[in-house]
Amino acid sequence: MNDEIVLQVEGLTKIYRSLFTPVGVKAVDNLNLSVRRGETYSIVGPNGSGKTTTLKIILGLIFPTAGSTTIFGSSIADLSVRDRIGFLPEDAYLYDVFNGEELLDFYAGLFGYPRSRRRQLVDELLTLVGMQANRKVPFRECSKGMRQRLALAQALVNDPELLILDEPTSGLDPAGRHQMTRLILELKKRGKTILLCSHFLAEVEEVCDRVGIMYRGGVVAEGSLSELAGEPTEIIVTTSGVGEAQAAVIAAQPGVLSVSDGVVRMTKESGDQLWPVLETIHQAGGRVVEVSRPRPSLQDVFVRAIRQDTVEEA
């Protein structure tokens, strides 16, 4: 990853107006974000927070009320920019009467590749997404997971530098989600810059370098996972075989916050006291199962950010 900005969004606002809502509904509100080359950036947020609207504006499918977006320093209206990006739409909307081979050949054709190159590309991509065996299955007969993988393959036909993925694991079963996450990690390893939009926080946690938490059209928190989650707040020692009497002895040790159900919670600064505590557990006939310094999960960060935004607004 380097500091070159691949995608820049500045002051982006989108208001949907209609005859019945002349004031309009603000879907995106003064949004700023930037994605650096080689990083995987994720926009997370609840349904209706403006994630998909933002992606559609970035791709030029809809137009902003205010603000601007640039990709590789140019507007999306510049066709050469679209030569360098790939897009996986939410819920994989592709022509359902065609099979994977035909679909990929069609999308590759839109980049002007000759037939021999297209044939080679189709083979490579079907192999990458694990669809070689099902290359002749019409899209409408594909499972949800197969559809999603084909849709990812069509986003890769031009070997894009920037990959924009809208809810890539939406509607997939755990096995499908795992498969898709592996694919995204593989693409990340190949140096792709990825902008990912999702509300599956576990997947985001696994693949992303930076996260922007979007709520009511704006980014309410942004940063790497460690920046957002902060430093570990405590040390947790999980034990087994510790009785109530021994628990009271352990609880009396310096740095120990509480002992409950075999879980010893210690302050984050109490690293020096850890060894005596472990010895006490051992002497009390207990067994140490695990010692950890957990950070808040993305789920915690997400809930905290949204709650904070709601409180500030109130």
Partner: protein, 297 residues
Amino acid sequence: MTPQLISLIGAVVVVVTLALTRRVWAPAIVHAIPSVWRIAKITVAEARRRRVLQAVVVLVVLILFSMTFFSYLSPGEQSRMLINGGLSAITVFGILLAIFLAAFLIPQELETRTVYAILAKPVKRFEFVLGKYVGALIILAIIVAVMTAVLVLVLVLQDAMVKDLPDSTFNPNLEGVLFAALMNYFAIAVLTGLIMLISTVSSTTMTVISSFIIWAVGSLQSTIHDLAEHADTAATKLLLQVLYVVVPKLENFDFRNEVSNYLHVSYMSGWDALLQGLGYTIVVLILASIFFNDRQV
């Protein structure tokens, strides 16, 4: 100045303007051709796979063959009836297919959101509209060609069956039939362009309803002109004049009467209709591209 001189001057102005501005439009056209062609091809392939169109063609073929059963007519009457009925069937089914095909082409892409993956690629929106239009033209050309071929086959078979009868006056008038069918196809092409324009700004239902109205008005343009001449109020006159100017003159493409009654067919008037239709179609496609360019998808 005669109308011919005005047309000539207009054509020279257009050619000179195009030549002077070629640096502006030529690169766009060069880029557009492959994209338009690929979108047109997939439009045709999709329609072929959906099999609805095949079903309609089979229905029309059955109707055309069933017309040969009117054996109680004299051979002369029978040929007249076959030509008129056959060309009418081609017109009606061709126009109906054009309406339902063109009205759904772009809205369906928006509804199923297949357009997202295409417009995220280096495809300009006008290329998408043109690709869809060319695709529709190819589909309709195939359908009209199949229906015309069946009509010609029916006429040839019927001619072979009755030509040895005493005093047979059966005249298949194949040249006239082919000309009328071709002109019918041009009318369908003009109407398809207009329907696509409407579909870029309106719902599918409204597009279908307005297409039927346009078909009716376009087929009665001389009547509309006469009504405008004799209108009671200024508002009615204005409305009728607007309809006369805006709606394509589809009746100029209709040679059924001349061909089935063995009247003189003026190929020049067909040529005039074709040129007018071409100009009209270029304008509506430019407007469709402009409207679709500004559309939030």
